[in-house]
């Protein structure tokens, strides 16, 4: 590089780094300002303290901060300023408005009195301007109640630097978020400003410190600054997450090992609604009818979640929480273009009228594959699917509306549809499939105080089949249709009995209907029911216990007859210090057999032997895959330093893994299959493995916003999987799981105009054991060991706010670390560059 060029670039970087007022992780940075401000106020340094609170509010508006600013002004003897901020607070329509209004009235009265006094002959003004006494007995009672609730809030508040005074008033009502899975706006709206709140770990809003599982939250800001275009890419930042992209629209995500083609052990939810496709046991990420711009945050539970969510929440839960209707911009347009024929556009609109709030969104996206397995025009291979170059395409729309009748009484309706095309990579001898169809949902929620009724319908219908098939060979292209109906009734109640209890109870019913052509035979239908209960018992102040239990009734679990799956969980939380929680938990979880695993009768052509097939059969007597997990964790927050820490160590014991058996010869009289006109080489059935796998690992993550303008996220995970039966060389799950992963992300955001983000995710080498027909004799199926080299995924984004709060342009580079594969049978992943324009008029 020439010196002049280097100097220019260095100069540009310096200019950028020095530009304006900078922000890093907004929540951490705002929290740091808030904590420092409250500390200064407690030391009666009102002016400096208020400035810090204002800075926090500017970074990330939170109504409770306004309340505290108002109180500080009031305590500082500035009633006029206090009145102004109180009025701003009331304008946010806080739940405790009725309590705050008398204060405002009193202040107004005080100001009037002051004006009158000023007009009157001079009086003694030496006394400090204090709020007038409450106007009535009722107001006094309200304030007393307020103080009592404040004390509780303060107990949960983050640490304040040593000082004589407790926090001088947090908003009592504190905009406590609605409990439940759909508390989409719960993040940072808790009583404690800028506290990280999660809803997935306990199906109610709570501080991350109180979550009974290791939890990672990816915020909307993380999403935006990352420049990521797919959901799985975002999950690389989660400690212990194993993200394996085989195609540009096809990724498999697992947590703490056991990833595979068709990863089926992590439950993916969108606002509590499952996106796990039961017919195959996977999440088709590209089919989800939600755009990244609609997401408020993603909560990832790293560990078993069956105690609350039932089947398939075996290794974890990914809950994608969309922005609550009416809480976003009135209109926002985004347009993206880039290499790989990438084009995307989206529109989001939020609105509100009275008690009605809505969010409407539409979007389109398309992108080519990173690489193709075969060229076109080959004499031996026929390309199937809508477009051999296309990696993913989707045209989606969604509408979400919510009507609030009164506090705690509301109705929500939402629906969405995505006309999508993408790839999936099925197991066994099958290779990459196209899937071209429609994914739709409708959801209805009713909240009546402690009772919630949640219903939804999921639908997917599509054509699907191998993207490449030998010419002249029988085709496996087929169509499928899946419908899932779900209803859930939840009840939540707090009570005191030897401590404070927070009780959650729920019942659930689910009907699944899957029609899948030659793969499953006739229409398959299953009815599932479940009951769960959870009690969060705060025994004494530093110690609490969370006990959960769920029982699921599955129609096949008892050797083909209806059976029960029990999923208990117990967690102990110990908080010896403010902002530090130690966690110990034991849990059980399960994955139910998919429709494919239970019912399939698929004759797979043997490549190159047109008269032969291999029969893959389902097994209705499968036991569920079971997990027993033990976990120790520590979450520590250092608000003044802008640091969050998360450490976890675990041991997962996995039994009854479901896999395909070796191909067994059929009796000679059963070899010919008249349906396909081919001879069956043998049959391979889904079976429970005898081996028991033990995964041990540790994860550590740190998030820092040490100084204005710089945000850092670092995480590392180590894991080792062993088998009690298989040697290290023969153990698929042991070799396929990368032993070491490292993630580092850096963001720099200038409030004025510029944003930078770069992240890198390293995954160590692994070895994949896959089935392949032998090259010399395709009728022999071999287990082939495929080494996969370590790889690093590097993404970067540069954003520029061309018009403040209105127009942003960004340039994003993905997979800048160079070409690599994340699975031996997947695409060779190439660098891509995108440009994005976001307009918020």
């Amino acid at each position: 590089m020439k010196t002049l060029t280097a100097l220019k670039r260095a100069g540009l970087l310096a200019v950028c780094l020095c530009a304006g007022e900078a922000l890093a992780d907004a929540r951490l940075e705002a929290r740091r300002h808030f904590r420092n401000g409250m500390s200064l106020i407690a030391q009666k340094q009102y002016e400096e303290g208020i400035a810090e609170l204002e800075a926090a509010y500017a970074i990330k508006p939170h109504p409770n901060v306004l309340f505290n600013i108002a109180r500080a002004y009031q305590d500082a003897g500035q009633p006029l300023a206090a009145l102004d901020v109180y009025q701003r607070y009331l304008a946010t329509n806080p739940p405790d408005a009725a309590t705050v209004r008398p204060i405002v009235v009193a202040l107004e009265q005080k100001l009037k009195d002051a004006e009158a006094q000023a007009a009157a002959p001079q009086q003694d003004t030496s006394a400090l301007p204090m709020p007038p006494p409450p106007a009535s007995v009722q107001t006094q009672q309200q304030l007393a109640a307020l103080l009592e609730r404040l004390e509780r809030a303060v107990e949960r508040a983050e640490a304040v630097p040593a000082g004589p005074a407790a926090l001088p008033g947090l908003a009592p009502g504190g905009a406590t978020p609605a409990s439940g899975d759909d508390a989409a706006s719960g993040a940072d709206l808790g009583a404690v400003p800028y506290e990280e709140r999660v809803v997935t770990a306990s199906r109610r809003a709570q501080s991350s410190l109180e979550a009974p599982n290791a939890t990672t939250v990816i915020t909307a800001e993380d999403i935006r600054l990352s420049g990521a275009t797919t959901l799985p890419e975002l999950l690389r930042r989660v400690p212990g997450a194993d993200v394996m992209a085989l195609g540009v629209g096809s990724a498999n995500v697992s947590l703490r090992g056991f990833n595979q083609r068709i990863a089926n052990k992590v439950l993916v939810l969108v606002d509590g609604r499952t996106e796990y496709q039961d017919f195959l046991g996977l999440t088709i990420w590209s089919s989800i009818p939600i755009g990244l711009e609609e997401i408020e945050r993603i909560e990832v539970i790293r560990g078993p979640g069956s105690a609350l969510y039932g089947a398939n929440a075996m290794l974890g839960v990914v809950n994608i929480i969309t922005r609550a209707p009416g809480t976003g911009p009135r209109a926002q347009f985004t347009v993206t273009g880039g290499t790989g024929n990438t084009a995307a556009g989206s529109f989001v609109s939020h609105g509100a009228s009275g008690g009605l709030r809505y969010r409407a969104a539409a979007g389109y996206s398309q992108t080519d594959k990173w690489s193709r397995d075969y060229d076109g025009g080959l004499p031996d291979i026929t390309l199937r699917g809508p477009d051999p170059d296309l990696g993913a395409r989707g045209a989606r729309g969604s509408l979400s509306a919510e009507y609030t009748f009164a506090e705690g009484r509301k109705v929500g309706l939402s629906g969405g549809v995505n006309r999508f095309t993408t790839e999936i990579y099925p197991p066994g001898l099958l290779r990459n499939y196209f899937i071209d169809g429609l994914n739709a949902f409708a959801k209805g929620d009713v909240e009546l105080g402690p009772l919630k009724l949640k219903t939804f319908w999921n639908h997917i219908s599509s054509d699907a089949g191998p993207q490449y098939e030998p010419t002249g060979q029988r085709s496996l292209v087929t169509s499928l249709s899946s419908n899932l109906f779900n209803a859930e009734l939840l009840f939540a109640r707090d009570f005191e009995l030897g401590g404070i209890h927070q009780l959650n109870v729920g019942v659930e019913g689910r009907l699944k209907r899957v029609a899948w052509g030659d793969y499953l035979g006739p229409l398959r239908e299953q009815v599932h029911t479940a009951f769960f209960v959870q009690d969060d018992w705060r025994i004494v102040e530093p110690l609490s216990l969370v006990a959960s239990y769920r029982v699921d009734r599955h129609p096949l679990l008892n050797l083909g007859r209806p059976g029960l799956a029990h999923s208990p969980r117990i967690s102990a939380l110990f908080k010896p210090l403010e902002n530090h929680a130690f966690r110990a938990s034991a849990a059980s979880a399960f994955r139910e057999p998919t429709f494919l695993e239970s019912y399939t009768q698929l004759t797979v052509p043997v490549p190159g032997v047109n008269g032969a097939s291999s029969l893959t059969t389902g097994n209705q007597q499968l036991r569920p895959e079971r997990l027993t997990a033990f976990e120790l964790g520590w979450r520590g927050e250092f608000p003044e330093l802008g640091i969050d820490l998360d450490v976890a160590a675990y041991q997962n014991t996995v039994r009854d893994l479901i896999g395909l058996s070796a191909v067994r010869r059929l009796p000679p009289g059963q070899s010919y299959d008249p349906g396909t006109g081919s001879f069956l080489l043998g049959t391979s059935s889904f079976v429970n493995e005898d081996a028991i796998y033990t995964a041990r690992g540790a994860e550590a993550g740190i998030t820092l916003a040490p100084v204005d303008g710089l945000g850092l996220k670092l995480s590392a995970s180590l894991q080792d999987i062993t088998s009690d039966r298989e040697s290290a060389d023969e153990c698929g799950p042991c070799n396929q799981a990368p032993q070491f992963r490292l993630y580092g992300g850096l963001t720099y955001r200038s409030r004025a105009d510029l944003e930078f983000g770069v992240d890198a995710a390293y995954t160590s080498a692994s070895t994949w054991i896959e089935r392949e027909p032998a090259a010399a004799d395709p009728t022999r199926i071999d287990l082939v060991s495929n080494p996969l080299r370590a790889y690093t995924v590097v993404n970067a984004r540069v954003g520029y706010m061309a018009v403040k709060d209105t127009v942003t342009v960004a340039l994003v580079g993905s997979h800048l670390g160079g070409a690599h594969s994340q699975h031996p049978l997947g695409n060779r992943i190439e660098r891509r560059v995108y440009a994005t324009l976001t307009v918020t008029p």
């Binding site: 290499t339 990173w370 004499p379 030998p470 010919y672 006109g677 018009v803 324009l837």
Partner: protein, 413 residues
Amino acid sequence: MSRPTLSWKRAAGGLVLASLLAVGCESPPVVPTADVRQSTRTARIDGHLVVNSRARGNVVVFLYDANRPPPPQGTGRPITFTVVPSERVFGPALTGGSAGPFVAPFSFSLVPAGRYMLRGFIDVEDCGTEAGAYCRHPDFNPWYGVTGEPNAGDVGGAAVDPTTGRPLVLEVATNEAGQPQPLTGVTVSFSDAARVLRDRPTFQVAQGDPLMGSGPKTLRLQPLVIHDGVMDQRPDGFAVSYVDANNDGIPDDANNDGIPDLWPRVVVRKLAADGSNLLDENDLNRDGVPDVGGVDYVRADTGAVDGQPDVVVLAAGLVPDGPIAALTDEHGNPRMEGAIVPELQVVVRPQALDARVPENPVPLRELPRGRYAVVLIQPSGQTWRVPNELAPALASGLGLPAVESQAFYLEVP
């Protein structure tokens, strides 16, 4: 509020420029994955079956390497096969007695460049009308040696030169880039004239002593009727005939030893060392090609190994007295149409040969120790081999009837 429109225009312009620079319109590169199939270059052979027959049944077509032709020309095994179901061949005439012609497409996928031959047969399902005829059910099964060939009543077919009637050698050629090109429009003909007359030459070795000594060993082969489970072989003896490759009506004597050449032919092939299976030595993957790195024996002529894996056979042939007597009429003239004999005697000489090049077998210095299989080959191409999957140790696990005599092998101690 005034907005910095200049910045807006710059940004928009920059975005358009960046987009123009960034947007790529090229197709994704083609990059094979670790799937071994993607690293092979292949084409296909397809065409039509033309059936002129009253027989009904699925049509099985085999693809052979022309350099390793099937019996009776050689001992090659099919590279691959395809099945065209009877419904697709005969359509509405499936239940009628029409002789056709019936035409149906067939295809062989993923065929590498090379020279090939196509053979096939109709796996007949019908009941003969002649006296004593019995019903034949489809009994072909490619996964077992004992069920993998046509039987009496089946109708043979091949891709043949329409003018000479000789088997065609089909070539899948490559273009300049080395990419194999598809071979299309191939016709495989089936006709009642090629109906298989006899069952396979199923036999058992009457003598129980399997040990090969230092001198010639004679084996007495007797026909074996097997009508059990999926097996239905009912030979009434051994069909013997003179070899008359040039169809001149005079028995051939290829080695000029004064003894006319006879059908069936006999091959005594060395088996792999693992006594639990039936694989030939140096052909563990069953592709008919000597395995790279296979066993190499010292040649008799050079006293050294030749660096190539050997296809070891023992010199063997029919004891001609019985067959020739049966093949000679009362006037001393050869019965060129053949005859049936109740027993065959096979003499195995203590001479091992490397038959990697069948036309030029190379004598080996010593008799390689181990097990040897005995194979009979009829002029129809039907074969029978002992030991086979009917050996009791294997049969029960495979769902085949157990026949004790089919466990026989010749052993060189």
